[in-house]
């Protein structure tokens, strides 16, 4: 009994249970009700159980287990430590909300397709759990590839559309480039000695040059999955292509497994973190942050926009991790742990609010059939509940107090403010500049979500230019709302009670670096978030919320008490021009116009302004990513060129192939002897 209730065995059972659900969904393939009523809700329940086990694991010492599966002499090693426990909790709790939502979202799917979605969905969840549980490179890579493949099949659910097939291909391609880098990284760590268990990799002593090589391979390998630039190109293609719960799963959780991998390999397996590595992470993180939000501002497809925000948030997480590495590299583990906590806290926060936002986008898509912001408007009247949850997500991602996004950005700022500790003058003055990047990105995110919310939910309905048949047109269904409510509650809990999470994340810092935050930080009460010392910085979201609600209510009551509540309704002021239509409202493209003006050179823009005499004026604007033209297309052309040259070897005649074998044999005999 004891073994079953231990976090490791419990998590393993949950992962296997997900696999069982996946398989069971296939059996009554003609019964869609089974999948909807049982498979997804049971999967959500399993997620909650997993979250509980993960939470438990954070507070316990590491546990290991060896499963006699896999290849002969290569058993699967499993291990759960505070870091894995934290990510298991993230996976379990966020997927619970998404699975509940999925039970409502897939109500119109035909049973055969639904059975397949159920299979891939739960295999995807289980493979992510195995990525987190793996304690050897072999199981890790198996789980990693299962995760990539199952999510690939989910992305191409609507595989009849060519755009979705090509998005899936791009995703698979970049995922595999990343996987190769990760594999090579394990190879470097292994160095031809011992076995591939993480225990052995951890113990290996590397030359500094090899350690740096391993760091770069791990950073770019996992970065490809996380969506950091310049390897982000798949993300804005693949996330919108997938059904919305899957987008939420990929954006909320899957790209976080890459963050897990980075922390696991760089902080744990390679160890002896160098500050130069931290500067690389910071530079790429800052570029990713700014680039992600600037491109998000240019999107008018809601899901693409959210995908670019995932790029941005990965950058913010990298800023936290990079600061952590810089501080640890200079020998300040307490400040380093603060940076690590900031990064990991943002990982959890982003999972929650981005999951929520993707679910909201899914409800809009279901209800109106629209993804283009320029067609939407006034949805707050037709879908008030979705509008409410979406507002919470939008405020959270905009890093506004007292919600959760603010807490992790606050912690990142606090980490940057530890800069005076550093010995190197250049690094010391660069660190606050990275914080300034974060401030700029935060303010731009707020602008972007004012645009999204203002255009989609507020205002008046715009005439849709191309309208697909509307499925039902009402608000989100019950299950969809429960899923969103769960994640919205998460935004509040994470925003209002950060101290308990701070203590939890501190355990991870202790287990990875051997040190934690200062005594004073750990002794503060649940009400106060204190990262270093009370006189240096503190923040109390609960008091903040109470005061703001109290004074707002007081203002309301005072106005009502001393004056009156009389209200008349009238038409909006027409500015002296009575023929106003709802088409004259700002569009998503118009809202981004100041950004295009200020940051013009960063975009590849094609614009066609109609002349004043044009009888049928049509404004045309196309924004593309420079990376396509500067990086991806040249690489693709080079790859095509090389393969066309290699193709010269292929003639399809057996005699020529025999000649090749003969020549190879001769060459080998000459060289090897």
């Amino acid at each position: 009994m004891e073994a079953i209730s231990s976090p490791l065995a419990g998590s393993l059972i949950v992962a296997v249970f997900w696999l069982v659900i996946a398989a069971l969904g296939l059996a009554p393939a003609h019964n869609a009700a089974f999948t909807r009523r049982f498979a997804f809700p049971l999967g959500a329940l399993a997620g909650l159980v997993l979250a509980a086990f993960g939470l438990q694991a954070v507070w316990l010492p590491a546990q290991t287990l060896t499963l006699p599966l896999g290849l002969p002499d290569l058993p699967f090693h499993l291990r759960v430590d505070p870091l894995a426990g934290f990510f298991l909790m993230l996976l379990g709790s966020v997927s619970a909300g998404i699975s509940v939502y999925a039970a409502g979202y897939f109500r119109a799917e035909p049973s055969g397709r639904l059975a397949l979605i159920n299979l891939q969905y739960h295999v995807f969840l289980a493979s992510m759990a195995f990525v987190l549980l793996a304690d050897d490179a072999y199981l890790f890579m198996v789980a990693w590839e299962t995760m990539a493949l199952s999510s690939y099949f989910l992305v191409i659910t609507d595989h009849k559309l060519p755009a979705i097939r090509s998005a899936g291909f791009l995703y698979l391609l970049i995922a595999h480039l990343g996987a190769i880098a990760i594999l090579l990284c394990f190879g470097v760590l292994h160095g031809g000695r011992g076995d591939y268990s993480f225990e052995a990799l951890r113990a290996a002593q590397l030359q500094p040059a090899w350690a740096t090589a391993a760091f770069l391979l791990a950073f770019f390998g996992f970065g490809a999955k996380a969506g950091m630039i310049p390897l982000h190109a798949w993300l804005p293609e693949a996330h919108p292509a997938a059904p919305s719960p899957v987008s939420a799963l990929m954006s909320g959780i899957m790209i976080k497994t890459a963050i897990y991998g980075m922390v696991r390999v760089i902080f744990d397996l390679i160890g002896n973190v160098r500050w130069e590595w931290g500067m690389v992470v910071l530079a790429i993180g800052a570029a990713t942050t700014l680039f992600g939000v600037l491109y998000a501002l240019m999107q008018h497809d809601l899901k693409r926009l959210l995908a670019y925000h995932s790029v941005e948030n990965i950058g913010i997480i990298l800023l936290g991790l990079g600061m952590s590495m810089v501080f640890i590299g200079f020998g300040h583990p307490a400040a380093g742990v603060l940076g690590l906590i900031a990064g990991l806290y943002h990982t959890l926060n982003h999972a929650v609010f981005k999951g929520l936002l993707f679910l909201g986008a899914g409800s809009i898509l279901h209800s109106t059939g629209m993804r283009n912001l320029n067609d939407m408007g006034g949805l707050v009247h037709s879908m008030p509940k979705t509008a409410f949850y979406f507002l919470i997500g939008a405020l959270a991602i905009s890093a506004l107090p007292p919600l959760n996004g603010f807490v992790s950005e606050w912690l990142t700022f606090q980490a940057a403010l530890q800069a005076p500790l550093l010995q190197n003058g250049v690094v010391r003055s660069l660190l606050p500049l990275f914080a300034a990047t974060l401030a700029l990105a935060g303010a731009l995110t707020a602008m972007c979500f004012v645009k999204v919310y203002g255009i989609a939910f507020l205002g008046r309905p715009r005439e849709p230019t191309h309208r697909t048949p509307v499925p039902h047109g009402g608000d989100a269904s019950g299950m969809e709302r429960y899923g969103m409510a769960w994640l919205a509650a998460g935004c509040f809990v994470l925003g209002l009670f950060p101290t308990s999470f701070l203590l939890m994340l501190n355990r991870i810092g202790v287990s990875l670096t051997g040190q934690g935050l200062s005594e004073q930080a750990l002794e503060s009460s649940w009400l106060w978030l204190v990262p270093t010392a009370a006189e240096e910085a503190s923040y109390s979201p609960v008091i903040f919320l109470v005061v703001i609600v109290a004074v707002t209510a007081l203002a309301f009551l005072l106005v009502r008490r001393f004056y009156h509540g009389r209200l008349r309704f009238a038409d909006p002021w027409d500015c002296g021009f009575p023929e106003q239509t709802s088409r004259m409202q700002d569009t998503a493209d118009a809202f981004g116009q100041p950004i295009r003006h200020v940051f013009g050179p960063l975009y590849r823009m094609q614009r066609d302004l109609p002349g004043p005499d044009d009888p049928a004026p049509r404004y045309f604007l196309k924004i593309e990513d420079h990376h396509w033209y500067w990086l991806y297309l040249p690489v693709a052309r080079a790859a095509e060129f090389v393969s066309s040259k290699i193709a010269l070897l292929q003639h399809g005649r057996i005699s020529i192939y025999l000649l090749y074998s003969f020549l190879t044999l001769i060459a080998l005999l000459v060289f090897v002897r």
Binding site: G378, H381, L391, L395, A399, L400, P401, W410, F413, L417, A419, P420, S429, P432, L433, A436, A439, G442, A443, A446, M447, F449, V450, K451, G454, I455, L458, G459, R460, E535, E536, A537, Y539, S540, F544, I548, V549, V551, T552, A555, V559, Y563, H564, R566, L567, R568, F569, A570, P572, W573, C575, Q580, S582, Q585, D586, A590, Q593, P594, H597, V598
Partner: protein, 316 residues
């Protein structure tokens, strides 16, 4: 936290700020009228305007959502909260540790986001235009503001506004070059964030130039009064933050009640000077084109960064 006089003082101070804020607006208007050779309106005119607006019946567009009706109260609440954090008369504010300077910037951002959302709620073209411009100015001003505050935070080793002011008020009177840079940057941010000339003109209703006014075009009566009041509190809060960071002398310390009259007199003098200065700036400068705002604010940002680097270089 058993600090009853502190809590009482905290509440009194925030109420004082809320009540005194329109006076500063009245004073700036009066000074500007003098400088422009006009006969000045009464110092109390903002109060009469507020009273008039509160008495009127509110008119609201038919399509307005609950967000639109709630926003004036949220704005007022945010600014009231900000007024509670900033040390105006004394640094003994038991509530201040709940929100440091980063959270203070967060409060202003929260207010900005809500007012922009409310502006887009009715679906007129002016609302969207104002919201877009306001967010443009906001995202440019916010990093500059944070960099300015970080410079002060590095000097005092704390992000608590009360601790910063305590530290800065007790240094000997030497000119910190880093603070000089930061002060100029802060002044530029103040002008932009409070919709003053040269970024915005609080007295205009010309569609080509208005930013803040375009956002609140659909509001009337008590809602408009609350917004105008919140704007006045915001200006007051910004000016007092500036005073607290760059000229904190005379502010009363924790528990030192006898210093309050001096602090009060010092504050009145400093506010009068600051208001006159604002009026002077608004008289001698013209409004910039909207697309010169990024240049204006990136100058502010660069100055703030320079200030921070100067601090690291010369430790002062």
């Amino acid at each position: 936290m058993n600090n009853f006089p502190g809590i009482a003082f905290q509440i009194l101070q925030s109420v004082f700020v809320v009540l005194a804020a329109p006076l500063l607006v009245g004073w700036v208007n009066q000074c500007r009228a003098w400088l422009q050779n006009r006969s000045a309106p009464s110092l109390l005119l903002p109060y009469w305007t507020l009273a008039k607006l509160f008495h009127k019946d509110a008119v609201m567009a038919r399509d307005a959502s609950p967000l639109f009706r709630l926003t004036p109260y949220i704005l007022f609440g945010c600014m009231w909260l900000a007024a509670g954090i900033v040390p105006v008369l004394a640094t003994d504010l038991p509530f201040a540790p709940a929100a440091d300077i980063i959270a203070l910037v967060g409060v202003f951002a929260l207010a900005r986001v809500f007012s922009a959302l409310a502006a887009m709620d009715i679906g007129t073209s002016f609302g969207g235009l104002g919201a877009r411009r306001e967010m443009l100015i906001g995202f440019l001003a916010e990093p500059a503001m944070l960099m300015t505050l970080f410079t002060a935070a590095f000097i005092s080793g704390s992000t608590q506004l009360t601790t910063i002011v305590d530290t800065l008020a007790h240094r000997e009177f030497t000119l910190y070059p880093s603070l000089a840079f930061a002060a100029v940057a802060f002044l530029m941010v103040l002008l932009a964030e409070n919709a003053r000339i040269p970024i915005d003109n609080p007295t205009t209703h010309l569609e080509l130039t208005m930013v803040h006014e375009a956002m609140i075009l659909e509001y009337s009566a008590r809602h408009l009064a609350l917004i105008e009041w919140a704007v006045a509190i915001k200006l007051f809060a910004y000016v007092t933050i500036g005073i607290a960071l760059f000229a904190p002398w005379g502010i009363a310390e924790a528990g030192d009640w006898s210093a309050l009259p001096v602090a009060f007199a010092a504050l009145a003098v400093k506010l009068a000077l600051a208001g006159a200065g604002l009026a002077l700036i608004e008289t001698v400068l013209a409004k910039l084109r909207l697309f010169l705002a990024p240049e204006f604010l990136s100058t502010a940002f660069l100055l703030a960064v320079l200030g921070m680097l100067t601090h690291f270089l010369v430790r002062g």
